[in-house]
Amino acid sequence: MQILQYLINGISIGAVYAIIALGYTMVYGIAKMLNFAHGDVIMVGAYISFCVTNYLGLPSIVSVIAAVAVCTLLGIVIEGLAYKPLRGTSSLAVLITAIGVSYFLQNAAQLIWSSSPKNFTSIVTMEPISLMGGQLVITGEVLVTVAVSIAVMVGLTLFTGKTRTGKAMRAVSEDRDAAQLMGINVNQTISTTFAIGSALAAVAGVLLCSTVPTLMPTTGSMPGIRAFTAAVFGGIGSIPGAMLGGILLGIIETLSKAYLSTQFSDAIVFSVLIIILLVKPAGLLGRQVQEKV
């Protein structure tokens, strides 16, 4: 029974990673940049939600909507101010700028909300379900997180597959120059991608802090790196890959903490990532792109 409980916990944290990874993978797939500020947008989302519920006393659903709205705006502003002017230049330049943005967000948050941790109250009010005479407990957070991550994955798949904007995104991701020649507004498409990625980050932030209730200016960075690993794990640029990578990473993390070693869980998670990348260099579900000579 114990193992089932660990599995459920793993899936729960993995589903949060999956939502963050979905944002990463969208941005990487389309803008071809490693957005290191993504983790910090998560943190901002969580703080907004915290403030709306605790200081304004509004219901939690309003706080989620507010977090999504603020983060979407934030994503568009960051993209427009910091990344857009560097479009088409070295990818390292954009990477460093993203790091600058990440520092900025973390320190701005520290200035506004101070570095002392806040106790985030879960937005989920559902009673935990206990199965098999209390041996197996599934909390409301687990159910909501898993449901949201599946919904987001399905939504994104449909969006990129069926809608006009989604198709434009895929075209930009495939070949930016050719897409531009076909009349696609590349800049606008990338901005939209950032808006979607940041909105997902807000949702992930709220769910992350509902699962792990400590909120600090650095809350987003480690899950950000983990989710990024998850995105690579599943094959960066692939939507189902990000979902699979996130869930697997969560499960591996929880199981290795439970059965192998608590202190070395980081080393185990990253070792698994390295092994997977050596066997499948493009990730689990990634497409291997043949290099043309």
Partner: protein, 357 residues
Amino acid sequence: MKKILGNKNTRTNLVTYLVVIAAFVLVKACNSLDMLNSSQKGYLVPICVYISLAVSLNLLVGVCGELSLGHAGFMGIGAFAGVVIAAVLKDAVASDTVRLLLAMITGGLIAGVMGFLIGIPVLRLRGDYLAIVTLAFGEIMKNIIGNTYVGMDEEGFHMAISTSKMKLGEGGKYIISGPLGATGVEKLATFTMGFVLVMFTLFVVLNLINSKEGRAIKAVRDNRIAAESVGINVTAFRMKAFVVSAFLAGMAGALFGLNYSSMTASKFNFNTSINILVFVVLGGMGNILGSVISATVLYVLPEAMRSLEDFRMILYAVVLILVMLFTWSPKFKEAVGAASEKITGLFKKKKEVVGNE
């Protein structure tokens, strides 16, 4: 003599060495005249360490074209290996300088060996995937160092991954105690040794860049397939650059570790790797003197802004973003170009100004 100085590479290298030597002499002079306060003196060794780290990472990122996000991992290995060696040799070697040198060399060697072992799987990958795997290795190394216990007693040297497995005899003491890190470290590091380290790093990297190996490495960076087709063994050269870079980072780490009385593994995290990368990118990829200058300026800048307290890191972030935008953005370059054309246009009376579109 003229012939040697006529070579552009030799001249740039000479300038790099001269700048470093001049800076060293200047600082030494200021120091002997008591012009530096104690906190400024405290910056000197870390500056040397970060210069070496930036130069060695530049070899990897700028010259070799491989984005590495795990440089701090090698630094950490070097730091802890150096601390252990310095403590173990305490009674055997009397001279502090010799002990420091031995610690640095051992730190470098162990980091270099780790670099080789990591390089075997990592260098199969390219581009962003390589970056991620180096990130992963950096985290793994930090995680392992942070949970290792090293101690010494009459019987000799002990190493384990938990306190319960450590069987230290009476009178034995811990050199590294897991998450608490190394404590009670003798501060052996000196600024002169830092200078020696910087000069050694520059010597190794500059000579490597201008050698047959260096040209091969650059060829691999510019076009891997073309380089391969003219018979360059791509993996071997990438490996060379990787190991040399790890070795130098390990040496710098050992000096860094012996500069503080205590040190934890969390110091060598992802953020430190990123900071070193920022030095390299802002200094200019493949530009060694640029790395030296940017490491110095960017290390001193946040320290100098300490009086601003909370605003300091925000300002640092803003400066970082603005510098990146100003140096890389094509629009900004265009605007500068147009402006300078306008200004020169003022002096050329009869010619029409065509700068603006």
